[in-house]
Every structure is written in C-alpha cells, then in structure tokens.
C-alpha cells in the first residue's frame, strides 16, 4: 500500500522535477552555447509545445479530439497583435487579453461542439475553426486579410527591477518564452492534478458513468475546451511576438493538425509529452530542412516507423516501461476484493 502510493507521488512529482530540470538546462544552454540555431528554433519549440500541451488538456486528459484548435491559437495571436499595433495597451495586459479572448471564443464555439461526440465533435471544431479563418481573411481592416498583420509588433523594453530588457534581443525573447512556458506548464499541472482534472480524466474514460455520479460530462467537456482555448491563446500570442505579426495560416486547419501530431509523438498521458513532441517535430523539421528541401520524405519515414513500431508516444512509452518494472517489483500488495470478501465471510 505505502509502497505504491509512494510510487505514485514520485511519478507525480517526477513530471514537475523533470520539467524544471529541463527548463533549467534550457535556460542556461544559450548562455554557454550561444547558437543562432538554438535561439531561432528554441522559441518555436516552446510556443508549439505550449500549443500542443493546451490541446492535450482536451485530447489526452478529456478524450476530445479537436481538429480546430488553431482558432484559439490564432485568436491569441491576432488579439495580441492588434492590441499592440493599434492601441496603447501594454504587453502584459495584451497577453492577458489574448488569453481571455481565446478562452471566450472557445466558450462560444465549445458550447455547440461539446454536444457532439467522437468524429462529429472533431469535424464541428474544424468547421468552426475554418469559419474563424474566413472571418480573419475577410476582416481586412482589422486583421490585414490575406497579408496578415504586417509591419511588425512594437515591443517596448520591459523593466525588471533595476534592469531594462529589450525583448527584441533573441536571447531575451528566448528566456521570456521559456519562463512563460514553465509558468503555463506549472499552472496546467496544478489543474490536471486537481479535482477538476480528476473528473476530466473520468470523462475521458467513461463519460456516461460520470453522469451517473451526478456530474455533467458535457459541462466538464466545455470547461476543458475553454481552458485548452485559453492556453492555446497564450501560445498564439507568443507566436505573434516571435514572428512579429499574425498571419492567416495561424488559423488555418493545418495549424490545427500540428499539435495533434506533437501530442501523439510525445505522449498523451502527461503534460511534458506534448512539449517533447513539439521538440521532436519542430526540431527534426528544422534540422532536416538544413540538409534537404525534401524534409517531408525524411520526417514521413520517421513517423511511419514510429507508428508501426512504437505505437505510443515517447513519454508514455517510458512511463509504461517504468510502471511495468515497478509492478513486477516484489512487495506489491495482493489484490482481489472478491477474494477478500470470501475470506472475511
């Protein structure tokens, strides 16, 4: 009993520990090894990692496959971009409003989508996302239409106590993205380990049974949808800062597909899994494109091998290995309530 409980909390703490260790390494790395490649690709990995992690609140933790998650990513990006370009709202407030805007959009769209299940849910999320896309490319005065929000996003230097940090510097931006990613990860971790997160997983496993426990599976799905939308909005806002604009392809459906594959590659049973998936997919693409323009061929072949041979996400594979080793360890308690009832009788 105590043995396995201990194991459980180790696993639980492990994710945070590993996450923080990885973050510390990532924070120090560019200081000792200032590579342009790293400063270039690093923020992309982090932003896409947060995006994939946000999707996983739905996909892995609630069992909902959204094909239209780019809508909230794009909403975050455009909200931040428009606020920073056209108003006097500051960076911090713009980030908050970008998250809020994305969550609000998710609330409206999610309200309709969570009524449907399985593939129908997926297709309806796709439909709404494409409608958002249409609005984005047509609302030219606000969004810049096909061209996107061009002309860059003015980012004023940020004052941190005695220091003034110019976020235009790639290193500063890298560290900012990293710290926001860590914050998002820790917040998401608190959420998925909470009672709410517990019920989300219950919905994922068996939504009908949740209803019989007196909780609304639909309401829980909607809350996961909104939370995922908010985190996606953060990712989108960061992406807008990174590229200095917001573009229609942020909202296009191919942008919705990317985080799905990141989650699948990294593993859907943890929050770090999607980040790992983003690192693999973005990193591999960046590396492969340096050598060949036919990156799809190489990446595709890797993915085919991955699906056929590994069949689960990388971190899930590792966790499963670890668990089966732990389960085989001696000292595990006997099970069998029915048998125990027989003895008790």
């Amino acid at each position: 009993m105590t043995h396995s409980t201990a194991l459980r909390s180790i696993v639980r703490r492990t994710e945070v520990t590993w996450g923080l260790v990885a973050a510390a390494v990532a924070a120090v790395l560019p200081l000792i090894y200032p590579s342009t490649f790293l400063l270039n690709v690093g923020p992309q990995i982090l932003v896409m990692g947060v995006f994939a992690m946000s999707l996983n609140l739905m996909l892995g933790y609630t069992g909902m496959v959204s094909f239209g998650h780019a809508a909230y990513f794009g909403m975050g990006a455009y909200t931040l971009g428009i606020l920073m370009q056209k108003t006097a709202v500051g960076l911090a407030a713009s980030l908050v409003l970008a998250v809020a805007g994305a969550a609000l959009l998710a609330l409206v769209i999610g309200f309709f989508c969570v009524r449907l299940g399985t593939i129908y849910f997926s297709m309806l999320t796709l439909a709404f996302a494409q409608i958002v896309y249409t609005v984005v490319i047509r609302a030219t005065p606000l969004t810049g239409g096909d061209q996107g929000l061009i002309g860059g996003i003015p980012v004023p230097p940020v004052r941190l106590g005695p220091w003034t940090v110019a976020l235009r510097s790639p290193l500063a931006f890298y560290e900012l993205t990293l710290s926001l990613t860590v914050a998002a990860f820790l917040l998401a971790k608190v959420l998925v380990d909470s009672r709410w997160g517990l019920l989300l997983r219950a919905v994922r496993d068996n939504g009908d049974r949740v209803e019989f426990l007196g909780a609304s599976a639909r309401g829980l799905r909607l809350s996961a949808f909104v939370a995922a939308g908010g985190f996606a909005g953060l990712a989108g806002a960061l992406m807008a800062l990174y590229v200095g604009g917001a573009y229609p392809d942020f909202v296009y459906w191919t942008k919705s597909a990317e985080p799905i594959f990141m989650v699948l590659i990294g593993g859907m049973h943890t929050l770090l899994g999607p980040l790992v998936g983003a690192a693999v997919l973005v990193g591999l693409t960046a590396v492969i494109t340096q050598y060949t323009s036919l990156w799809g061929l190489v990446l595709g072949a890797i993915l085919v091998a991955f699906t056929l041979f590994l069949k689960v996400g990388l971190l899930d594979f590792g966790a499963e290995r670890w668990r089966s080793r732990a389960a085989a360890a001696p000292g595990n308690p006997p099970v069998g309530g029915v048998a125990r009832a027989r003895e008790a009788k």
């Binding site: 449907l116 399985t118 409608i131 249409t134 699948l264 799809g296 993915l303 699906t307 056929l308 069949k311």
Partner: protein, 299 residues
C-alpha cells in the same frame, strides 16, 4: 453578401449553365474521391488521411502517361493508383487496424509528407498544367445558347457512370453485399466463411482506384502540384460527414451539395467563399448530427 449578382446570374441562362456545369464537375470529382474515403472508412474503420495524396498521384500519373494516349492514360493512371493503394494497405495500414484512430491518422499523415515529396522528386516543385487532352479540343456543346466545354461533359458523364456503377456494384453483386454486410458486422461475415481481410484489401484498392480516377479526371482542369491532395481531402471529409459516415449514397448527395454551394455560393456570397462549405457542415452537424443520410453508425 451580393444577392444582386446572384439574382442577375439566375436570370441569365449563360450564367446558370456555367455555374451548373461548374457545380457538377466539382461535385462529381469530389464524389469520386469522397466515395472511396467513405467506403474505406465504412468497411475498415480507417480514416485515411493519405486519400487526397492518391488523388494527387492520379493526376500526376495521368499527366505523365498522356503522352501515350488519353484513353490509356486515364485507365492506367487510375489502375496505377489502385496498385499503390494495395501496397500501402498490405505493407503498412493492415498493421494499424486495431490501433487507436489517431495513430491511423498519424500514419496516413506521414504518407502525405512522403508522397508529396516523392511527387516533388519526380515531377518537380512547381505547378504543372496539362491542358485539355487533344481528343477534347473541339467546339463546346451548346445548352440553349450556353457553351459547355466538351471535356466538362466528359467529366460529368464519367462521374455519373461511375456513380451508377458503384451503386450497382454495392447493391447487385455479391462483393457489394459482402462489403455492406462487413460495414455492419465484420465478425458475422467472417463466421459465414468470408475472408474479411481479403475483402478489406479489396475495398482499399477500390477506394484508391476511385481517388486516382478523381485525380485523373481533374488533371486537365486543375493545376497539378505537390500538396494538391490536401484541400480535396478536407472537402472529402466534409462530404463523408455531411452524407453520413460510410454511406456512398450520402457521399453522392453531399458531394453535389458542396459542388452547388461552391458554384452558386461564390456568386451570392463572394466574401464568404472559403467558409461556405464549412458553414454547410456546421449547419448539418448541428441539426442532423448523423449526416443527411446517416444511418447512425457510431464511431
């Protein structure tokens, strides 16, 4: 919204006929691709992301084979795609029948990446355009005073013939009955002595053939480029959802519906052109969550 333009169009034979033929060729090509997707999904439960890439391969093969002869190119290209489909199914896809749906998507998405790059290697990065085959370089056919290009008529005829043929295959042959029965209950079909694995492979080949044929027919009227399979893939998914999962008749209705929405919607709502099809899907899903002709198959 531009209802004035729409009113003007419907009052002119020229415009109506031209939008009508456009609706039909869009719808019928889409039907060919989507019916294959629907069959594969209905019988095997596989959502094949690479289905659009098979369409692309059909177009490219037809482009390359046209040098020989149009008839040969059409038949050989579609059959070639069917063979590619068979290879994909036997070598890769049969290993993921029992895998979660998302892993099937990941695998077939990987095919898209590979096949697009293969297309780049063989046919280059740029758009290629093949033009109307010589056999169809002839005066248009007039409906009233409105001209319809001969090749458009060819697409419409082939599309309708294939639709009818597919319907006959599914309803009038033993193979068709087995396919429909396997979509409902593959275990029982196996218990009656039918090799369901062989049927699945057959269905995948048929689906690939249909996608390839769609590409072949589209090649002369659309630009051909790596990645051209993507947008028709999304539209095919929409057709399958609108028509009801696994229903070929539904796919026919759904595909034509999309053809019409695209052709006439672009006149009436030019500002919403990109979104119309998705609005249609949202409307269908919100009012009839199992599709227009859906039989209520649960995923």
């Amino acid at each position: 919204m531009d209802l004035g333009a729409f009113a003007q169009c419907v009052s002119s034979t020229l415009c109506v006929v031209s939008q009508l033929t456009s609706a039909l060729i869009t719808g019928l090509i889409l039907f060919l691709v989507a019916s294959g997707l629907s069959l594969v999904f209905g019988v095997m439960g596989i959502l094949n992301f690479a289905h659009g890439s098979l369409y692309m391969l059909g177009a490219y093969l037809s482009f390359s084979l046209l040098r020989l002869n149009f008839g040969v190119a059409t038949v050989a290209a579609a059959l070639g795609v069917a063979v590619i489909g068979l290879l994909l199914e036997r070598v890769f896809i049969r290993h993921v029948y029992r895998a979660p749906l998302l892993y099937q998507l990941l695998l077939t998405y990987a095919f898209i990446l590979v096949l697009d790059d293969v297309a780049k290697l063989i046919w280059g990065y740029d758009f290629v355009s093949m033009g109307v085959p010589d056999a169809f370089r002839r005066p248009p056919i007039f409906i009233g005073r409105a001209p319809v290009p001969a090749y458009y008529m060819f697409i419409i005829v082939v599309g309708v013939v294939v639709a009818v043929g597919l319907w006959l295959l599914l309803t009038r042959t033993r193979f068709g009955r087995i396919i429909r029965a396997a979509a409902d209950n593959p275990t029982m079909v196996a218990a009656l002595g039918v090799n369901v694995a062989a049927v699945s492979a057959g269905v995948f080949v048929l689906g690939s053939f249909l996608a390839g044929l769609g590409g072949v027919l589209a090649a002369p009227v659309r630009s051909i480029f790596p990645g051209m399979g993507f947008s028709i893939l999304v539209e095919s998914f929409i057709v399958v959802v609108i028509g009801g999962l696994g229903s070929v008749a539904g796919a026919f209705v759904g595909a034509l519906l999309i053809g019409f929405v695209r052709a006439f919607g672009s006149v009436a709502f030019p500002a919403l052109e990109e979104g119309l099809v998705f609005m249609l899907m949202a409307a269908v899903l919100l009012t009839r969550p199992r599709g227009v002709l859906g039989v209520g198959k649960e995923l």
